[in-house]
Amino acid sequence: MTESTPKIRLRGVDKAFGAKVVLSGMDLDVGVGESVVVIGGSGTGKSVMLKCILGLLKPERGSIEVDGKEVLGIGAKERERVNNKIGMLFQGAALFDSLPVWENVAFGLLAQHLVSRPQAKEVALSKLAQVGLGADVGELWPAELSGGMQKRVALARAIAADPEIIFFDEPTTGLDPIMADVINDLIVKITREVGATALSITHDMASARKIANRIAMLHEGKIIWAGPTSKIDESGDACVDQFINGHADGPIKMAVRA
């Protein structure tokens, strides 16, 4: 593998639900060790994009490569190998409510038989500490946590096995501004220091500017602009300008009736 092979590469990905077209001809590259943030309006298919890469949804057309290897249409064994490299933070946390918090965090470690149970618990508690949750939280059940705490547990679960690639689906929504910044710092640390590749989704532009090397904007099924974070303010794209400044008037029309 050469340096130029992107970690993740999407080409011409089409995904529709019945007659509703969500992605149409989407292209995206995420380089090794890069932190890319995808922004875009609600319901434009950002979460769908992540699920397509993970094989949870099947695109109708296109190609998705991870480490230079096509992952669409691969068998279950290979899929498991690919997914072992990836940690995923779901938008809705998706914690297992039949397991205590620490077992949620340690689930991937235990499933891959990387460590023994006591060791897994130790790792889980240290990952919980990284997202600002104490050891006492580890013994609680997911239903006993607030929404923001669930999100942070899910984040700890996503990074528990130290994956090469991490997907963060709205890591800071539902958190207070201070905790959001702690999480931003954590994501930056994971990508800069550990060298993981991150693909994040966020609506929070402050967070995007902080965690991203590159920002890509998804609109009407395609990436309409992608570039370094420093260039986002002079993108020259009316849609991007409207989105990052949060104006109701502009080329993007929200389907609302007054």
């Binding site: 949870l56 498991e80 997914n83 072992n84 940690g87 995923m88 779901f90 998706a94 297992f96 689930f107």
Partner: protein
């Protein structure tokens, strides 16, 4: 010819569902054959199916046996054949009522809770999360339930057989005035291994049906709470219908000679 269209559509939908179900069954049974296994999950399901269903199954069997003795007594009294009560009770309980009643009751209890649990996991993306955490959801969620159902239903039916026959005995001896040792002797003379065995085989089949329906409908539930509700109903209804259907097929295989 338009009236044929809806019929055709319903028939096609039925075939599609049957196809899905068969595919699901084949994949699920196929994953039983290969590791990893989850002994904790199997034990938890065995406890849930086997132990916590005992009160329901026991009470059902007790009253079924009691009413059977009472009914057959009033019926046979017309032909002065009251002595056959013991035979009727033991035959009906072991061959039919034990497995079928236990199956139906546990379908309500277990099928519904499995569909609701797995359905909730589906709509809250917990099943997707399993996949991303190097765990095959079929092996983690479905296989332990199938194995537990297959093993615990025969156990439950054995308990139901014993309690059901006991219920008949209680009514016959304490209400209808039968001689206790004669009643037991008649029961014992008429009891054949084949009757019990056929009931246990039925139970194993019903166990697979109930757990499979719970898992299948839960696994494929869509939408939110409403979808999970629909999955629960479908799991129980389809399990009950399939139990009665397979009961006939198995009876035909065992006893039609």
């Amino acid at each position: 010819m338009n009236f044929l269209q809806p019929i055709g559509r319903i028939f096609l939908a039925f075939l599609a569902t049957a196809g899905h179900l068969i595919m699901f069954t084949v994949t699920a049974v196929g994953s039983c054959a290969r590791p990893p296994y989850y002994p904790r999950m199997i034990l938890r399901q065995m406890l849930d199916i086997g132990y916590y269903s005992l009160p329901v199954v026991g009470l059902t069997a007790l009253f079924a046996g009691m009413v059977l003795a009472l009914q057959s007594y009033t019926g046979f009294a017309r032909f002065s054949a009251e002595g056959a009560v013991a035979n009727v009770v033991v035959l009906s309980i072991t061959r039919e009522l034990g497995p079928v009643l236990a199956g139906l009751m546990v379908a309500g209890r277990i099928g519904a809770s499995m569909a609701a649990e797995i359905g909730t996991m589906r709509v809250t993306e917990q099943i997707d999360a399993l996949t991303t955490l190097s765990t095959n959801p079929l092996k983690y969620l479905v296989v332990p339930r199938l194995i537990a159902g297959l093993m615990m239903f025969p156990f439950l039916v054995l308990v139901a057989d014993i309690i059901g026959v006991f219920g008949g005995y209680v009514v016959a001896v304490y209400k209808l005035g039968f001689n206790a040792s004669n009643y037991i002797q008649r029961t014992y003379d008429f009891l054949q291994a084949e009757d019990v065995n056929s009931g246990l085989v039925k139970a194993a089949v019903f166990g697979v049906i109930v757990t499979l329906m719970g898992c299948y409908h839960g696994y494929h539930s869509k939408g939110g709470a409403q979808g999970v509700g629909a999955a629960t109903t479908n799991a129980v209804v389809s399990a009950c219908i399939l139990i009665l259907c397979f009961d006939y097929i198995l009876t035909e295989m065992f006893f039609a000679k």
